[in-house]
Structures are given as structure tokens and as C-alpha cells.
Assembly symmetry: C2
């Protein structure tokens, strides 16, 4: 049987508040780096490219994450930017609208018989070969017009996942019965502990992974039948799509008019032609620091069960997970703790209470504390900046400008700036003068003076900025021109 | 009875490794700030001045702590620098040599009948009036030639202190028998838990506080009788004292030749004319983070027994002590923890294992890690600096220069420096030019160029220094002149 074209669709977003302080709304879970230095998003792209016909992978994500995602993708040797289109959501939305918009896009660009392989960007799968084998089986089923989901064989009575009760056999997979492809008996809600144990013991239930595979036309037909209102709203939104190139943006109102409903609930639970592929690959949804602490690779475990990433000293402590950054972490006489340290915040949590980390973020949001949203390092289309000092008399930043990166033409009313280049060569405009600023050279930008910083070279530029003044808020930036469209309505949030 | 002149003697030093990461060898326990913002050393000076005849207080401390101590003292409204002499120890030594050198100094400058009131700088006493009352009683006894020690009425079966068994009554104190002055029955070593409980129950034992009171001549006579070798070595060392002004330094070899022995062991345990004053004041030796967490004032306790200094969010946690700095600390589902956060290190310890924090410092020292010794902020005779960034391509510091502070005339072979003044007005020499650098002005110091920074004003100068080069070690400083004697053999360690 000839398979139709497979277009992987990466769904990337979500706050991941249980993974604070590493995951924050401006830098959420898909961007979180594992011990090997790669982000979950990058790893998802890696999987997707293994299944992609001609290297095409579609990504659906928030506008704020566009440049960050593109930078992450650009590091992959097989990634070609013209084959990695983006659909940008103006606000967070549920999976049914996102997947329907993806299906409409895929039908338009790749044909109605093209197959979507939907992959959330915040899952970790290590055995890519097994993933590819399962995805191929799913794609073969999808060619028949089936709506396929992937079920994870449960290893514990988890109460944090929905389950899938398996129905009749469709086709034999491997020798092991658990990997045979089945019809779907039922989708069931997150169970209590006792019910979860029963599900586990019965061998008839799988975790609902949120990964799917179906032909564009099959999904859209099912939508027409089971949720015509969602489909109509998605079509209306699709009609507002900006131009034909990537990134695709949508009309804000048309987008907001789509119902907030999951694909499971809108279509999968109602359609008769569904199937589930029990996964033969390992899987973690990295749902909490406990899950991170239990990942089996890359980090050594000492005799007392402690696992350490970064600099730490452990004295008479057991079963702790410590993830540090630049600072020294010391644990003395403690057990079963998760200790996660970042530039501006540290978390100390009981391993079994890891789910409650989200309550910290709730409290931080209520109090308006920045550490709910931003890291000490903030990513921008042109690169990133790290705040080194923020005091009443000055603010000091390290700026990293990517090759070709251009900050907006701007001025400030309440601060002057002193720039010193410490790596590379920058092009600088100050007032009417434009000049190159080499490593170990500095310049001064007085208050109310137009200025612009760019990197005309092929290598990163690093620059130390010392701001003097009486107010250093990001809102004292008057933008006159911006390469990334941030002077008017914008893809990114207002900032340097 | 007329009291002789009382000269308080502050013994300041000691690593305080149990209080890492706040106490470090370059900034040890006496400099640790309590919740009210004052250091233990400052508080000791405050007590001392209440007892000092004519405001004279002698301090015995390490050479590395001289400028830091003087700055701390200078903030006291009644402190007069010409009445606060220092004896500087080239290396750490035990209490017998330190106190004998103090007695020789006091006899020389204030007469043989002057009374020493010896006060360790790392104790916390809140009820100063009660302290003064007890110290007066001790001084009265000392006038009679007695060697007086202060005993603390035990409140728990502590195993970390030595004890004093009280002997016969000398004089009635208050109505309460426990405050009556006694002869010393015996000095006893740190007991085990059971013995400590027995001592506590008996009512006949006091904690040995390490505070003393005696006339200079009485102590020196007792030394002649009970430890003539230590006295002879102290006299030899005293003879090497530098000039007559403060600070007094000693010959390194003569100092090192003094035996490493405590005053208790060398004299107090052997002398017959001792007395103990049971303290009527509160007392803590701040021996561990547990002790800090139990201090009763200045910090609010929530309903679950958590106490927080700094920014913290606590979720379903009990009985934790959290001391933060600038960063956010979050505790989730934890109990009985001590969490102490500083600019470059964080400690998480079980409250009952607080003594073992010293093992962290042992490990850091073994591995040569800077955080055993230095803070992110390093104190210097002219002020302080804080490292904001230390990367391969640059090092960024905030410098604070005190009024009148002058950095050494220096040059660097492997780095250039960019200075921007953000508060105040500095006087700068670069090569042969000398000029004022105002707030929001910057200057550049090329490699191999002589330069000097000073503060000619009455207010602090803050300056951001960006170093560019390929090596940023403190040993790439060639000093040509130094106001604080650091160009040749030095009081302070080599540094900016």
C-alpha cells in the first residue's frame, strides 16, 4: 500500500507552570533544555523530520514563540526554513481549533489526501526508531481514512492522564498482544487512584498521549459530521490567513471566535472510524519536576539516589534531584527534595508534591512578580538580553545580537546608554552618525537620541549596556522603525 | 568601691563555617547581618561602648578583617577611631595568646590595674541593660583581683557547649539564687546528651560563654603562675609590635611561636581565684542556621511556623526558615528546612542537621571552590566590588568607592577597562591625564596603561567596570602605589 504524503504538525505552546522556575510563560516547557542540551521542541522536530515527506513540517504555536522556535529549528542540520511553515495563534487555544487550522492548511498546500501526524512539542521520546515504526503503522492506517491516536502502555496508576479503553483488534502488530492495533472502546477521563490501578491491572487501557495521525480530508469530514460549528469557525479563521508565506497569521476576532474545545472531545470520542496504536516507544510528558527527576538517561545517580545537574554539594542527603545553573547548591541532611535553581529564582519542593509547583506561579502572577513570566535572560527576534544589575541608579545588560539581527530604531526619554562591545563587530547608529563598533570599543547614547544596533556579520555580537537615568522600564522605548514589525501591531511584545 | 578603668576587648574572627553561605572566610560570622541590618560585630561594639571608660575599646582580629571592621565601627555615632585600637593577628590563633597580647597592650597603655572585659564578637545579646548590670558586677569582682567568667543559665541540654559547675557562693546577686555569683567548681568538656540533661536538671551548671573580666595584672600574674611558657611567648610577640599607633601588627614568627591554647585551659581551669557570674541577659552564640532560625525578634512567623527574610513564596510548607537575598525562593510541600540564598550559592538543610553545614565548606575547600571564601561582593579597604558577569569575553563589576577611598595606582597586561560612573563623582587618572568623571560619564583604560580611581567627595561613588581581554584574574594587577600598603607586604590580600 502506497502511503500518502506525511506532514508532521508540531503543536507547541502551553505554560508548563509545574516546571517553574525553568518554564515560564515567555519561555515555556517546549523550550526547556534536557540534560543533553537540546530543547523538547528541537527533539520533537528531530522526530518529525524522520517522518516528513520532503522535509516539510508544520508548526502551530503562539506569536510570542515564533522567533524563538525558528532559532531552535535553525540549529538542525536538515532543517530548511522554507519547508518549516508556521501557523501563529494570537492567543492560546485548545487542540481542535489548532488541528483543524492545520488540516485546512495542509489540504490547501499538500492536497486533501495528505496525512497529518500531530505531535505535541512538550513530550520526550528517546527511542526514535520505535517511534518511527509506530508512526508508519499509524500513517498506513490513516491512508485507509481512519483517525488514529497513539496510546501509551501504562507503567503506573497515573491519575494525571486520560485513558483509552481498547476495543476490537484491527490488525496484528508485533508478537506482543499489547502492541496490536485496536479500535477505540472509549475515551475515559482522568481516573482516581483506585480506578487507575484497576485500569492498569486489566491491561485493556492505554494513556491518551495527545498524538494523532489522519488524512486531512478524513479529519475535515469527521469534523463536518461531529462538530460542524467548530469546523465552520476554523474555516472562517482560515479565510483570514495572512498571504501565502510563513508565518501565517490569522484575524484576531476570527481566531477568538473558534470554540475552546479539545480534538478528543470534538471529534475523536464521537467518530466511529478511530483506531489506537499502542506505542512501542518510551514516553514522558515531563509533567512535573518529579517526571524530570526520573528521566533515566544523561544524569548520574549516586549511591544515595541523588541526581545532580550543575554544581552541587550533597551531604547526608537521599533521593534528591538538584538542577543548578551557575550557582552552587548545597543540600544537607535532606530527603526526597527537588531543588531547581535559575538565575533569579530557586525552587525547593517535596518530590511527591511536585504538582503543586503551579500554585507558586499562581501566587507570583497574583502579586505581579516578573519571575512568573520572564527569565533573567529574555529572548527577542534579534537575539537576547540578560539583566546583570537592576538598581535605582543603573541597569546593566548583556546583549547578544544574532548575525543579521537588528534592534529597532529607538530613543529613550529617561535614560542614556553606554555600550561596550566585548565580542564581534556591531553596526551602530547614534543620532545621524553610523559607524562600526569593534570589540573593546564603546559609545554613548544620550537621552532623546535616536539609535540603532545591528549585527552585520556572520558571528554573534556580545555587548554590555550600562543604562544611566531615573527610570529603566521596557516601556521607555520609543520605536520609529522595526525590522520585526514591532513598531506598530506586532508579532512580538514591545521591548528592546 | 571604686572600679578601675574598664577596657572592653573584642575578640573577632573565626570562620563560622556552619553559617555558610552567608559566613565565609573573607566575610565571617561577626560581619553577618541580623534581620535589623546590623552585624554581630557592630552589636558587640555597642555593648562594649556601654562599659568602656572614655570610649576606649580594643579589638583583636585578623589582618584581613581590619578595614571591614573599621568601616563597621565607623557607623556607630559614639565611635571615635582614635579610641578604637586594633591588634591584628597575622593568622588565626587561640584565645590565650589573643587575650594575653590584649592584657600586655592594656597594661602598657592604660595601666596594670585596668580591667579587661573580653567579649567574643559573634554572640548575640539583646538585653543590653541586663548585660551592663552583669558586666558591672563582674568588673567589681575583678577589681578584687579575681578572674571572672560569665556563665549562661542553660535552657536546653546542649551538647555543643562546655559547661561550668558552680562552686560556693561569693556574693548574693538578685533574689534568684541562679544569679548569685559563685566560685568555679570545675570547667567541664562538651557533654553527651544524657549528661547534658543531668547538668540541666541539677541547676548547678552553666554554659561557658567565652566572656571574661579581669585586671590586666591579675591575669598576667596568673599566666606567670599557670602557663609561663605562653606568657613568655606572648611577651616576645608583644615586643615585636609595630610602632605605637593603631593598628598594631606583630612579627609573623613571634606570633606563630605562641602556643595554640585556649584561655580556659591555660589559665581559668588552673587558677584558684576564679568566679562565675550567671548571666541575667539573653544569649545566643548563633552557632548554626538553626540558632538563627530561632531568634525571636524582627521576623514574623506564619501560622505554619515558617519564618521568612527576603522574597519567598511558601506553599503547604511547615516550620521552615527562609533567608533570601534578591532572588525569589519558593518552597512547596516541605517541612523543617533551612533555606538560605545568597548571590552565588544556596543552602537547603534539614533544621536538625544544621551543624553539618560545615561539611559543605570542607568539601568546597577541598575542591578549591571560591564560594568557600568569597562572596559575590568582595570588601576592600577602599570600598567593595560585586561581580555582575564573569565570562570568557568580559568581566563586569559594580564598584563602590567610599568617601576618601583610593584604589591603587595600577595597570593590567591582559585587559582593558571601560568605566561608567552611575552615582557620584570620581577622580580618575589614566596615563598622565587626571580628571573628574561625573555621573553618566565614561572613560577607557587601555591595556598596560597606568590608572587610578578615587573618590574625592563626601558621598559614595558607584561605577560599572567592563573588562575586555583574555584573562581577568585578580593577579593581573601590577600595583605601583597603594594608600593601604598593598603594593609591598600588605595588610590586605592583593586585589583591585
Amino acid at each position: 500500500m502506497e502511503m500518502s504524503k506525511v506532514i508532521p504538525v508540531i503543536l507547541s505552546g502551553g505554560a508548563g507552570t509545574r516546571l517553574w522556575p525553568v518554564s515560564r510563560s515567555a519561555y515555556p516547557k517546549p523550550f526547556m533544555r534536557m540534560a543533553d542540551g537540546e530543547s523538547l521542541l528541537y527533539k520533537t522536530l528531530e522526530r518529525a523530520l524522520r517522518m516528513a515527506s520532503d522535509g516539510h513540517v508544520l508548526t502551530v504555536t503562539g506569536r510570542d514563540y515564533y522567533f524563538l522556535s525558528r532559532d531552535d529549528y535553525a540549529r538542525h542540520p536538515q532543517a530548511r526554513r522554507d519547508r518549516l511553515p508556521f501557523l501563529l495563534e494570537p492567543t492560546g487555544r485548545n487542540t481542535a481549533p489548532a488541528v483543524l487550522l492545520a488540516a485546512l492548511y495542509v489540504r490547501h498546500h499538500f492536497g486533501a489526501d495528505a496525512t497529518l501526524l500531530v505531535l505535541p512539542a512538550d513530550h520526550l521520546i528517546r527511542d526514535i526508531d520505535a517511534f518511527v515504526a509506530d508512526a508508519r503503522r499509524a500513517a498506513a492506517l490513516a491512508t485507509d481514512g481512519r483517525l488514529v491516536t497513539f496510546g501509551i502502555v501504562p507503567s503506573a496508576p497515573e491519575t494525571g492522564f486520560g485513558y483509552i479503553r481498547m476495543g476490537a483488534l484491527i490488525a496484528e502488530g508485533d508478537a506482543a498482544a499489547s502492541t496490536a492495533i485496536r479500535k477505540i472502546g472509549a475515551f475515559v477521563e482522568k481516573p482516581d487512584r483506585e480506578t487507575a490501578q484497576r485500569y492498569l491491572d486489566s491491561g485493556e487501557y492505554l494513556w491518551n498521549s495527545g498524538m494523532f495521525c489522519f488524512r486531512a480530508d478524513a479529519l475535515l469530514e469527521a469534523a463536518q459530521q461531529h462538530c460542524p460549528d467548530v469546523l465552520a469557525a476554523a474555516q472562517a479563521c482560515h479565510a483570514t490567513a495572512s498571504g501565502s508565506g510563513s508565518p501565517v497569521e490569522f484575524g484576531r476576532e476570527a481566531f477568538a471566535a473558534m470554540p475552546d474545545i479539545s480534538l478528543d472531545y470534538a471529534i475523536m470520542e464521537r467518530a466511529g472510524n478511530c483506531a489506537v496504536v499502542p506505542a512501542t516507544f518510551d514516553w514522558s510528558d515531563i509533567g512535573s519536576w518529579k517526571a524530570v527527576s526520573e528521566l533515566d538517561a544523561d544524569i548520574q545517580t549516586d549511591a544515595a539516589g541523588n541526581r545532580i545537574r550543575g554544581s552541587a554539594i550533597v551531604v547526608e542527603s537521599e533521593n534528591c534531584y538538584i538542577q543548578g545553573d551557575k550557582r552552587m547548591v548545597a543540600a544537607v541532611g535532606v530527603k526526597n527534595l527537588l531543588i531547581v535553581d535559575t538565575g533569579d529564582a530557586v525552587l525547593v519542593a517535596d518530590r511527591e508534591r511536585a504538582q503543586q509547583v503551579k500554585l507558586v506561579v499562581d501566587q507570583l502572577r497574583k502579586s505581579g512578580h516578573d519571575s512568573a513570566r520572564f527569565h533573567q535572560t529574555v529572548h527577542r527576534p534579534w537575539g537576547s538580553f540578560t539583566v546583570l544589575e537592576d538598581e535605582a541608579d543603573c541597569k546593566v545588560k548583556r546583549l547578544t545580537v544574532k548575525p543579521g539581527g537588528v534592534l529597532s530604531l529607538q530613543l529613550h526619554h529617561r535614560r542614556s546608554e553606554h555600550w561596550t562591545v566585548v565580542t564581534g563587530t556591531a553596526k551602530v547608529r547614534v543620532g545621524d552618525r553610523e559607524f562600526l563598533l569593534e570589540r573593546n570599543e564603546s559609545t554613548y547614547i544620550p537621552v532623546n537620541t535616536l539609535h540603532r544596533l545591528e549585527n552585520p556579520t556572520e558571528a554573534d555580537v556580545h555587548l554590555i549596556e550600562v543604562q544611566c537615568g531615573d527610570y529603566f522600564g521596557e516601556d521607555d522605548i520609543v520605536r520609529l522603525e522595526d525590522k520585526y514589525g514591532r513598531a506598530g501591531s506586532s508579532i512580538d511584545k514591545p521591548a528592546a
